[in-house]
Subunit: 321 residues, 2 copies
Amino acid sequence: MSILGIDLGGTKLAVAVFGENGAVMYREVIALGNREGETVGELIKEQVKRYLTSEGRALAAIGICVPGIYRSKTGTVWAPNIPGWDDYPLLEEIQKVAGDVPVWIDSDRACYILGELWKGNARGCRDAVYMAVGTGIGAGILINGTVLRGADDIAGAIGWMALNKPFKTKYIPCGCFEYYASGKGMARLAGEIMEALPGYNGTLSQIGAKELTAHHIFSAYEQHDEVAIMVIKESIVFWGMAIANLISIFNPEKIILGGGIFGPAARFIPEIREEAKKWAQPVSVTKVILEQSEMGGDAAVFGAAYLALSNIKTPRSYEIQ
Amino acid sequence: MSILGIDLGGTKLAVAVFGENGAVMYREVIALGNREGETVGELIKEQVKRYLTSEGRALAAIGICVPGIYRSKTGTVWAPNIPGWDDYPLLEEIQKVAGDVPVWIDSDRACYILGELWKGNARGCRDAVYMAVGTGIGAGILINGTVLRGADDIAGAIGWMALNKPFKTKYIPCGCFEYYASGKGMARLAGEIMEALPGYNGTLSQIGAKELTAHHIFSAYEQHDEVAIMVIKESIVFWGMAIANLISIFNPEKIILGGGIFGPAARFIPEIREEAKKWAQPVSVTKVILEQSEMGGDAAVFGAAYLALSNIKTPRSYEIQ
C-alpha cells in the first residue's frame, strides 16, 4: 500500500509517496511560480494523475495539506496566499482525477501535528500541541488522539490570542499575539524600538525597515545588538504567555515549537519555559514537555499522508466530519 | 431505567434520581455541616445505598460531580475545599456499596457542560464551552461531543489564563485571569481602587474590606457607585479577553456563562461580546453564541447524571479513559 502526501505552500508544492510504515518512496518539490487560482488546482491534479500508479503499486489514498482553512462541510479551501482561493472546491477537483482513491484534505496546522504524531516528537501522544511561528502564528491541537477542528474548521487560531491589555487598533489585522511575536511582528517591533532610540547605530540600523526580517534580529543578537536583545526578550514573554495559556487550557503532554522562527528561537526554549512557568496552571506546567520540532518543513507533507492513512485504516481515530 | 446524579459542592451535597429522558423523579440537598475527609465519603455512600432501589426500579448507573479534579487513572479526587480530600479514593469507596451498578465521576466543570449538553443551552452542540465564574474560574469544554480532559485531567484551568503582561507575583496563588475577574478578584480590585481613592465615601466604603463581595459591587453599580463602575468595567475587559481566547482557540458554537457571577453579570453580556469582538479571530467571533446558563446551580447534578447515562448508553460518545 502506498499513500500520496501533498503539501501546498504559498510558493511551492511538495509531493511525496509514502509506504504504510512512513518510508518515503519518492519525493519532489515544485515551485508554484506565478500560478494562481485554477492553475494551482491544475498543478495538484497533474501530480495526482502522475502518481495514481506509483512504482506499479496503486495508491491507497491521497492526503493534501493546504495553507489556510479547509472547510470540511463543503470540501473547499480558503488560502490567503493563493490568489483566487477564497473558497476553492479542491476536494471536488481532485476527486475528478482520483477515481476511486479516497482523498483527504486539511489545514497546514492540522497536518503539522499529524506529521509529528506519525513520525515526529508527538509519537505516542494523545494530547499535544504544535505551535507554528513563522510569518504568522497558528496551532495544530491534538486532543485524545483527534485533531481539534472547531465548529467551522477555524480552531487553533492562536495568533489572535489576547495577551496585552488594553486593546490597540494595530492588533486588528492579525491579532495581539501575532502582532508582537510572529516573524513579521518581531521585525515590526525592532522598527518601533529603533524609532524610539534615535542614537542607535547598531547592525539593524544598516538594514532598511522594509528589508528587516526576524533572521536579521537573530543574527544581530549573536553580536549582542541592544535592539535585537530587546526584541527577543519581549518575544520570549509573549511566547511564554501563549504557551502558558495552551498549558492551562489543554493540559497537554507536549508542546512542539515549529515554523520558521523555531528555527533560531529554539535556543531560547529554557527562557520561554521559565516565562510560561510563571503564568500557567502549576501542575500542568510541570508535566508538559516543551520542545522544538525535529521535522522542520517536512511535518506538513508527512501529516498530509498520515491524514489519509489514518482515515483509511481506522476512520474513527482521526475524524473528518 | 433510572440514574442517580450526585453533585458534591464545598458546603452541600445535591442528590437527584433521574429518568432516562431527564425527568427528575426525586431530589434533595444535604448540608455537609462540619463533615470532612472520610465522613464526606460516608455521606455519599449512604445516599448511594439509599437510592440503589428507587421507587422499585433499580438504578442503571451512578454519576458523581466533584468540586476539584477527578484523576481518572486512579479514581481519586483532589478537592481543595474538602479537608482530607487530597487524593481521596472516591471511585473505590463508592464501588464498595454500588455493587454491579456502574459509577462515573468527573469534575464540576466537566459536569456543568454535560448538564448543559443534556438539558440546557448546549443541547445539540458538538463544540461548546461553559465558563464558570464564581469564587474561582474554570471551564468545561466540549469538543466534537466529548469533554476535554487533558493528559492529567486538569484541562480547562482557564483561571490561569495570562492576559495582562508583565507578570506580577500576586498572580501566583490563582492565576492572572482569576486574580482580576473572579468574584473574589472583583472584591479585591474594589479594595485596591478604594485605597487609591482616599476621598471616596460611596456605598462600598461602608463595608469592611473583608466583608466586601462581588454582590455588594453589583448592588452598588445599580446606584451608580464610581468604584463599582470601575470594577465592572475592568472585569468586562478581562471576561471579554478570556472569551476571545476561547473563541480563537476552539471556534465553538456556543459559550455559556455560569457560576455565581453570571448571575448578576449576565446583563453585561452585550458589552462582554463587544470586548471579545475586538480581540478574537474575526470569523469565529461572528459565529459564536454567547449566553447565560439557564440551569443555574442545577447544571452540575444534571451533568453528573448525564455523565453516567451517556457512558452506559454509548460509551464512546463521552469517553472516560
